[in-house]
Symmetry: C2
Subunit: 446 residues, 2 copies
Amino acid sequence: SEVQVPLGVPCNGLASRPGCVPFPLRPYGVKKPYKEVIDICWGDAHSGGTKPLTFVRQVIAVCIYPELLQETTIAPDVKERARRLLRECPGGSVGKYCVCGIPFVQDGVCEFISKRDGGVPISPLHTGSPVQFVLKLLVHGKGLAQTGVLTPIPCYPTFVMGLTELGAAMVPYYLCEDDGWCLHVEELRRALATSRSHCNPRILYVINPGNPTGHVQSRESIEEVIRFAAEEELFIFADEVYQDMMYAEGSQFVSYKKVLFEMGPQYSNTVELASFHSVSKGIMGECGLRCGYVELVNLDPSVKQSVTSAFNTERNTAVIGQIALNIMVDPPKPGDPSYPTFSQETVEALPGTSFQAGSGGIYAYLRLDLPQKALLQAKEEGTDPDLMYCSRLLEEEGVCLVVGKEHGQQEGTYHIRICIGTTSTRLKEVLRRLKSFHLRFLNEFS
Amino acid sequence: SEVQVPLGVPCNGLASRPGCVPFPLRPYGVKKPYKEVIDICWGDAHSGGTKPLTFVRQVIAVCIYPELLQETTIAPDVKERARRLLRECPGGSVGKYCVCGIPFVQDGVCEFISKRDGGVPISPLHTGSPVQFVLKLLVHGKGLAQTGVLTPIPCYPTFVMGLTELGAAMVPYYLCEDDGWCLHVEELRRALATSRSHCNPRILYVINPGNPTGHVQSRESIEEVIRFAAEEELFIFADEVYQDMMYAEGSQFVSYKKVLFEMGPQYSNTVELASFHSVSKGIMGECGLRCGYVELVNLDPSVKQSVTSAFNTERNTAVIGQIALNIMVDPPKPGDPSYPTFSQETVEALPGTSFQAGSGGIYAYLRLDLPQKALLQAKEEGTDPDLMYCSRLLEEEGVCLVVGKEHGQQEGTYHIRICIGTTSTRLKEVLRRLKSFHLRFLNEFS
């Protein structure tokens, strides 16, 4: 299966290495007015200078190298957690195989969900790298039988690439930019109706808070989506990995699971739902540790069996990721020795309210109103206006961000995505350069 | 895609948890003469009590928690390695995304291969979890066009499960037990000819040293296999993850890559070869860190493009695994402060020569000569003789090992696999219990 790699997925400085797809850069060796390229593309917090949380790293370090249990500089709650986790590893080593995830970690996830959702019942859980994994089990068929996945536009490109790789039909539904990137059920209905002529739409993918839009769904909006999924017998894929990143005033995260159960048995006993969370996002931002979980509600028994078997045969859960997951769902509490540092670090990690456009998540998705002359210039260069804008921004100011084209956008509109999950110093520098460039750009094409 | 989970894949004590496939155990609560069940099934060194290597764990701990750079108890070469690796992580954090692997780690792998193979040229490399990944890109088609994979019997069951999951046709070729589990080319030829009636055989999977057989291929045997692959235009999948585990006297590991290049351009410019290695095995045994590499020789340009794209879009390399890989290919050297400990630990980790049957790898695959009465008893119980033997062994002596049935075996022969990559104390206890049981078993059915 050939995979289409879109432009603009830079490999963190690996542009010249074989096997990596570079952002389209001009030749090397040309002097630039900036000293450093700032890569603000990805939701990769640590690359962007966000510091890891001390408690997370101390617990993992002790699990990796238990001699550290002797260190007097390490707090007792760190040692206690590490000891507890090591007891779950036969041989006392994180170097063991981990087939079904660590039971103690799964129990912690159950408690976390139960607390978050006010005690609604827990459905079967799996830990590891579940999004692509669960999708793979549901996607099949060709032609009219090909599984269709309703996908928001704009969306992050790796999700769409994943669908292509699995042979699913991507069924785009557009989020309404004029209404703050709201999800409108009429648009879902339109997309579904259109898709039936070429595939079998079975999955409804939602991401809340949004990527790249930063939009947070209200309870009413979630109810509407659930009613729609029930009517049309769609499987809801709720990507909720940004649930901890709420920053607009009055904005609150409510899970699909909670809403589903509060809508009564007519829905809570029937609608199929997968809800995802991950250590890569949130206050932790540990993208390199590779772990998350999925909760699977109302799975068809035959699918349930496949999912269970498949998770059992994978054998590939990284134990360090399991440890990070445990801390994500059960962080230090007031009164714990590590709490003061933890609490200070997590406040600093929150991105502030620099952008009013979104109300959650770690991205700002900005619309570019480009002058007519700029559009003509792009046409002449045989490129897209947003790609031209971003290439020039990179060349002239050394700021690398994501071209809206990659997320999908309404015909004739142009966007850029900035990851705001970074330090405020870095973000200020990005905005300074962006402003300087933008004014120059407008001036040139006015 | 429904996955068949064979019996006997125990989930390290998770038998009672939902979502795990238990070894078929009798009811709980029955008193047993042993205090502890010894699980000697898997090549999971640390679960079996093998201690992690100090240098590996110290470097990782420092990378995870760089405050440890201040510790005076940590050796300078550990700190130097950790600093070097952290320089490769933008933001100085192992919590970053790692798309194409870490270039510095890849360079280290290149040097390792070059040194191992006496300087033959290096082909493109990919790091991460490559076996299933590369297979996925090569397997396609249905009916007569279905990709066939020549697979040794006996073989470890997860490989066969992987083939089933990908929709490949498993084409068994039998290793010759009477000739010390040698791979005979006539048997490959027979298997290939037979397979053409139902699939399109394209891949030849070899594992050297063998799992479960422990057999090590000679240079002559490898040359024969390469000539056969060249004639029949087969892609060689050389699973060489046990290359560091050589223990029989006079036995020496030679890589497929080295032999291929020494056979001259007629072969070295044409035969497609993938060679795999992993931190899960060898002296390190870090199964929980999930990292390995594949070197891809003479790939068809169209496949090469797909492989590169697919590795680039995966985004899922765990950074900690990359660090372990770096140490695997570049361990402490004589003169380094960490060398004395490292050298002592690795000598202790070697399993000794308790088994003459194999000459490499970490398994002993033992043949059971079962009395006729035992075969009849199994028939009466509606089970297989080797499964009956292993179930009783587990019940009566608390030793859990792998039933030969799962690896495949010639009709009418019966085997068990023991992982010998464990501590000598543990291994002695296993052999004591096994002997006691075996004599009782023979007595009962004589």
